[in-house]
């Protein structure tokens, strides 16, 4: 896959960086006529009317992260939770697309749970690679793995939509990208077998299932296999985290969406020497928290970052 140039679609690099808030809150989705549709980041979404079922996505809380990019990741998670609690209409449930913790420590899981549980929402998790750090891998499974298959994949139905949580952070191979593995793919094929093609499907996983930027490992080696299984379905929404920025792509009947982190931003693909945490001026960016809305760019096969600030 070739590199992406975001400079020629009317958005300067500076603008794109400006649009990336220091920490995200969550993305509100609504299901209307059986089709999930993003209403945007919580702040802007609150203004929109949300007919039908709504659900929320948050991601990459990195509880335990304390480096200069954000010395208090737990604090910004708490801010996100406060925004969620202030929503006039409670969403039906929440999806967390991984990296709940930074180092998979028991205290980090405990702290995350203590804050997130204040939403009093049912939360469906998938693990990020930070939640699956080798020697303590049991902590994620003990807390969130009940009733799941393999390394923690599962499906459930809500609001007429079939939701599938996938795990693509296990058995990663040197030089490779995210990985679902044969066992999970077989389960996915089986899980979808017999489902009416008019059933809307939401796939969610930590690392993007689509190839965003392989040079930084932003993609899933066998993600295309998973997408093959949902090809015939009328409405497919793919949600992920991992890259700490809003990105959206529409390809046929499949909408891909990545959410912001509640902890720290990461640079746009290729915009920095590495995908590491982006250090930005605290005061300035806190003021930008939640002022961006998300627009779809329909029918564009190219990768699109469309993130329109309401001010400035």
């Amino acid at each position: 896959m070739s590199g992406h140039d975001h400079g020629d679609d009317g958005l300067s690099r500076r603008k794109v960086l400006e649009c990336m808030t220091w920490a995200g809150t969550g993305v509100l989705w609504t299901v209307t006529g059986g089709v999930p549709r993003s209403l945007g980041i919580i702040d802007s979404a609150q203004a929109a009317t949300a007919p039908g079922m709504t659900f929320l996505q948050i991601s990459d809380s990195h509880v335990g992260f304390d480096k200069p990019a954000n010395p208090n990741a737990l604090g910004t998670l708490e801010e996100a939770v406060n925004k969620i609690n202030a929503m006039p209409e409670k969403p039906s449930f929440m999806i967390h697309t991984g990296d709940i913790t930074h180092l998979s420590k028991a205290a980090e899981f405990d702290n995350a749970e203590r804050i997130i549980s204040q939403t009093k929402l049912d939360v469906h998790y998938v693990p990020g690679e930070h939640d699956f750090i080798d020697e303590e891998v049991k902590l994620y499974r003990e807390r969130y793995g009940r009733g799941t298959k393999g390394h923690g994949w599962y499906s459930f139905d809500a609001g007429g939509v079939h939701f599938i949580g996938l795990v693509n952070v296990v058995d990663l191979k040197g030089g490779g990208l995210g990985n679902l593995g044969a066992e999970q793919l077989a389960w996915l094929e089986d899980d979808l077998r017999g489902k009416s093609k008019s059933t809307p499907v939401v796939l969610f996983a930590h690392i993007p299932l689509w190839t965003v930027y392989p040079q930084w490992g932003w993609g899933t080696e066998d993600g295309a296999r998973a997408l093959d299984y949902v090809k015939g379905f009328g409405s497919v929404t793919v949600l992920n985290g991992h890259i700490h920025q809003v990105m959206q792509k529409v390809e046929g009947n499949v909408t891909f969406h990545t959410a912001r982190s509640t902890a720290f931003p990461q640079p746009a693909p290729g915009a920095a020497p590495s995908p590491g945490p982006m250090k930005v001026e605290d005061a300035k960016l806190r003021a930008m928290l939640g002022v961006a809305s998300i627009n779809f760019k329909q029918g564009d096969q190219r990768l699109a970052i469309i993130d329109t600030p309401l001010q400035g």
Binding site: S104, D134, E135, G174, G176, W216, G276
Partner: protein, 108 residues
């Protein structure tokens, strides 16, 4: 191919100078740094008996994994991992959290 920073270059020179007089001891111990999700140097040639020490200088944790050979704990910022190479061969390794990060130690 690989970029060697001044400090690494100094080490390489020091090792080369010391080699003729101190081959029996592991005076040629080497370092690999992780900066910006990259192992530097990405490829390192060492003698049998050399201890290589990796230091994570990123704000994000990394690991050092060579399948079936060695595996570090997760290294947080400034954490180190050392491994002593007692037999010759090519040791490919990667970060199990960010598998696009790869490196190689050639032991001769």
């Amino acid at each position: 191919m690989t970029k060697i920073n001044r400090r690494d270059f100094g080490l390489v020179v020091a090792a080369a100078v010391l080699l003729p007089v101190a081959t029996a001891r592991a005076d040629n111990d080497m370092e690999v740094h992780i900066d910006n999700f990259v192992f530097a140097p990405a490829e390192l040639k060492v003698k049998v008996g050399t201890t290589v020490t990796w230091t994570n200088r990123d704000d994000i944790p990394h690991t050092i994994v060579s399948a079936g050979k060695f595996r570090s704990k997760t290294l947080d910022t400034d954490d180190k991992f050392s491994f002593t190479f007692t037999s010759a061969g090519d040791y490919k390794y990667f970060c199990s959290l960010h598998p696009h990060m790869t490196g190689m130690i050639k032991v001769e």
